[in-house]
């Protein structure tokens, strides 16, 4: 399957385009960060606390007089960075484990998969909280914790695909031509198992951002005064009656981001699934 055609199919529907556009805006926001924020996101000014949204403070101010819009903008960077690094960790570790387990099989498979079963058996949040209890709170440790939690998913998905690819004729051909294991895994197996991994990456980004928000909500993720959507939500909870904007705007930011990643993930799955792809291509041809 060619990348160009995949993208063309992906962006045939408006939902995927919207999702991708939203994510593009988010990434831009995260990159520009402080240059975009109208106010200092950590500068406190108690005299202007809990102000309702206005021309000066579009999203209002929080209980310490900080601009909520600026904090939501800087929070994007935190969320995306934690999400990306965490998924990066689980992607690299999980795919590696999955490739080795699926390709070599037997005891390698047993050891690696039973280990990831153990990890998998814990509820994700409980596991992340346990890891943070050991490492200590903080956004770097949150990345590691989330990365560890999502590693088994990538390992399983990769292994499942490798199991079938490993029996393909071209793998057998490469082996009989004298290719080493590393070359076979790198050149023949890996490229043919990417589709489900790509889909999983997109969906995992949504979950990782949600996990970061949840960990920060309970105080284990990003530490004050750095802005994080989850943390802002937790702080806003005590002020819902006086200042709805403190919780609503970071909540909306989480909602939109997670939705965009999920929609994109769904669209990717439709496009990358061979049967679905066939159907889409056919319906396009007959139209």
């Amino acid at each position: 399957m060619r990348a160009g055609e995949t993208l063309r199919l992906l962006f045939r529907g408006p939902t995927a385009i919207v999702a991708a556009a939203v994510l593009a805006v988010l990434v831009l926001t995260a990159v520009l960060g402080e240059r975009l924020a109208p106010h200092d996101a950590t500068g406190t000014d108690v005299s202007s606390r809990l102000q309702a949204p206005s021309g000066d403070h579009w999203f209002g101010t929080d209980e310490l007089g900080r601009d909520v819009l600026s904090r939501v903008i800087l929070g994007a960077e935190v969320s995306l960075r934690v999400g990306a690094v965490a998924v990066g960790i689980s992607l690299v570790a999980g795919v590696l484990i999955g490739l080795l387990a699926g390709y070599y099989g037997r005891w390698v498979d047993d050891v690696l998969m039973r280990l990831s079963d153990v990890l998998f058996a814990f509820p994700a949040m409980l596991m992340a909280i346990a890891v943070l209890a050991i490492l200590g709170p903080g956004s770097t440790n949150a990345m590691i914790a989330i990365g560890i939690v999502y590693t088994p998913i990538f390992a399983r998905i990769t292994r499942a695909s490798v199991l079938s690819v490993r029996e393909e004729v071209y793998v057998k051909a490469a082996r009989s031509a004298g290719a080493g294991d590393l070359r076979i895994i790198g050149r023949h197996v890996l490229p043919n198992v990417t589709a489900p991994i790509i889909v999983q990456t997109s969906i995992s980004l949504a979950f990782a951002i949600l996990s970061e928000a949840a960990l920060s909500f309970v105080g284990l993720g990003t530490q004050p005064p750095d802005p994080s959507w989850g943390r802002m939500l937790a702080e806003g909870r005590g002020f819902v009656e006086q200042a709805w904007w403190m919780a609503v705007f970071p909540g909306l930011a989480i909602f939109v981001t997670v939705l965009a990643f999920n929609v994109l993930g769904d669209a990717l799955r439709d496009v990358l699934d061979p049967r679905q792809r066939q159907a889409m291509a056919t319906s396009g041809a007959t139209r």
């Binding site: 108690v46 809990l50 709170p137 004050p224 819902v240 009656e241 006086q242």
Partner: protein, 533 residues
């Protein structure tokens, strides 16, 4: 008698320990409480309370008061618990020999009068007659001796209150004599400051499980202990005027918004779960009666004097000049507090007006520049979301100190971890508060003498030790106050603690509830409360 005795008392536990124990208790109650804990839902309606006092034989037209408290009591053994939630309940169930009134003056309770020998070493208490425990047994001096000896012999949490006690004797059933090794002007506070010094019947600790049952002499009996709350019934043979309500039902409501909603809808009659930011809105709310009064609690910042540069007095003074208390107080308490540079609030007769630190960034910068190890000087500031006001205060302090050359790193910990780190000395600085002190001994002694049990910051000034030890044994109240005033000035000047503010007590109840009084020491007593019609 009482009038020239000192007032005051130590409710000497850090907020910290209070909450930590409550958490542990939650866990153990969940695991092991099977036998004695009635898991039936006591929140099943106010009818539960009415049914309970049918068995008590009293009239049942007073109704059941429903009180929402924010935390679950860890246990009901008054000598062992340190949780404020437990004392909220026990206040209504147990009695002490003497009891502080709302002004902190000690009044007769189970003791009707007391005298002190000329050398100040023997205190003789005359006990009230015709007092019975909730199990029907009569109260006499043997119960007092038993209760106090239990605390001393088992080295329970409050044993330190008897540090100067040589012996406790019962010359006759209506008399108790306490012999001291040194004069102890704070004795009334030590034995009556709060229900942690309650009188239990002789032998009851061996005969029953005091953690889940209660045999007191107070206006209410402990009936049901469940997962959602506690039910009390009026004790009709109470020695004082019987309570006006038939019973009290304490419900655990940890979310302030839920407690207020329940109050507005009439599901509960009273709550102390009112965050300071809600005060302004509630003042105009005619569905809610709000009680706000200055408390005897104080909140402070402490720096680790075992670590440079925080061991340097000038550095600490720099930090003290760099903090704008008004802004910190406003941020943390929404105005429901009074800034203070010493520990004792201005309503107390032990208050000493002393405020040497005016917010002065220039002087702060200068002092810090001269003494800091690097520029800017990093300082980890340990806070806990168990007390959200520490997190809010820390963020304002961070912004203020950034301008004078200190880079504050906020370290938010779970409270158990927080306590471990405090005990291990593993911190640069922390924010916390002390609750419920009445006597200056409780405000200053254990926190600031060199070997003090609560001196986690590692402060040691021999001059302060001398003054505090002298004050602890001084029986002349004016001379005693003068000694504490001097000690407090040194403590403030040296920045052993950097005192921030005294918060207000905030409680709310339904309109028409009569006879309830908000107290500075946060004792919660429903004895004289009458429900609205």
């Amino acid at each position: 008698m009482g009038a020239d005795m000192n007032r005051g008392k130590v409710r000497g536990h850090t907020v910290g320990h209070v909450a930590a124990l409550a958490v542990i208790a939650l866990v153990s109650a969940g695991c092991g409480g099977g036998d004695d804990v009635d898991l039936d839902d006591p929140a099943g309606g106010e009818g539960g309370g009415d049914a309970a006092d049918g068995g008590n034989g009293g009239g049942s037209d007073g109704g059941t008061l429903v009180a929402a408290i924010s935390a679950q009591p860890d246990q009901f053994d008054p000598h062992k618990t340190q949780a404020y939630a437990s004392f909220q309940v026990l206040e209504n169930v147990y009695d002490t020999l003497v009891v502080p009134d709302a002004e902190g003056e000690f009044q007769p309770s189970l003791a009707t009068e007391w005298t002190t020998s000329d050398d100040g070493l023997t205190w003789t208490f005359t006990l009230r007659e015709a007092v019975t425990f909730h199990d029907g047994s009569a109260f006499d001096s043997a119960d007092v001796v038993y209760s106090y000896n239990r605390i001393i012999n088992e080295q329970l949490a409050n044993a330190y209150r008897f540090a100067s006690v040589a012996s406790i004797d019962a010359p006759d059933p209506q008399t108790v004599a306490i012999t001291l090794t040194t004069p102890t002007p704070a004795l009334l506070d030590n034995i009556g400051g709060f229900k942690g010094m309650a009188i239990i019947p002789e032998g009851s600790a061996e005969a029953t499980d005091l953690a889940t049952t209660a045999v007191g002499t107070g206006p209410f009996t402990l009936e049901d202990v469940g997962a959602n709350g506690v039910t009390l019934s009026r004790y009709d043979d109470y020695w004082g005027d019987p309570a006006l309500v038939d019973g009290v039902e304490f419900q655990y409501v940890s979310e302030p918004a839920a407690a207020l909603t329940a109050l507005r809808s009439g599901d509960v009659h009273w709550t102390d779960n009112v965050p300071p930011q809600d005060i302004e809105g509630l003042q105009d709310d005619d569905q809610v009666e709000l009680g706000v009064t200055p408390s005897v609690d104080y909140w402070y910042l402490a720096m680790n004097q075992a670590r440079p540069p925080f061991d340097n007095r000038d550095f600490r003074r720099g930090v003290a000049f760099g903090i704008d208390r008004d802004e910190v107080t406003e941020a943390a308490r929404f105005g429901a507090a009074t800034t203070n540079q010493t520990a004792i609030p201005e309503q107390s007769r032990w208050y000493h007006e002393y405020a040497p630190f005016e917010h002065d960034p220039d002087q702060a910068t200068q002092l810090i520049e001269q003494t800091a190890a690097q520029s800017p000087q990093p300082m980890g500031l340990m806070v806990t979301d168990e007390y959200p006001e520490t997190v809010q205060a820390a963020q304002v302090i961070q912004a203020q100190l950034a301008e004078v050359g200190v880079e504050v790193g906020i370290e938010q910990e779970a409270f158990a971890t927080w306590l471990d780190r405090q005990a291990a000395g593993d911190y640069d600085a922390f924010l916390l508060g002390w609750l419920g002190n009445l006597d200056p001994f409780g405000f200053y002694h254990a926190q600031h003498v060199c070997e003090g049990t609560s001196n986690f910051q590692g402060y040691c000034n021999p001059e302060v030790d001398e003054l505090l030890n002298q004050a602890a044994a001084e029986t002349d109240q004016d001379a005693r106050k003068a000694l504490y005033d001097q000690a407090a000035e040194l403590i403030v000047d040296d920045v052993s603690y950097l005192y921030l503010y005294n918060p207000d007590v905030v409680q709310a109840w339904v309109p028409g509830l009569e006879g309830y009084e908000v107290r500075a020491d946060k004792a919660i007593n429903f004895e004289t409360v009458r429900l609205p019609e």
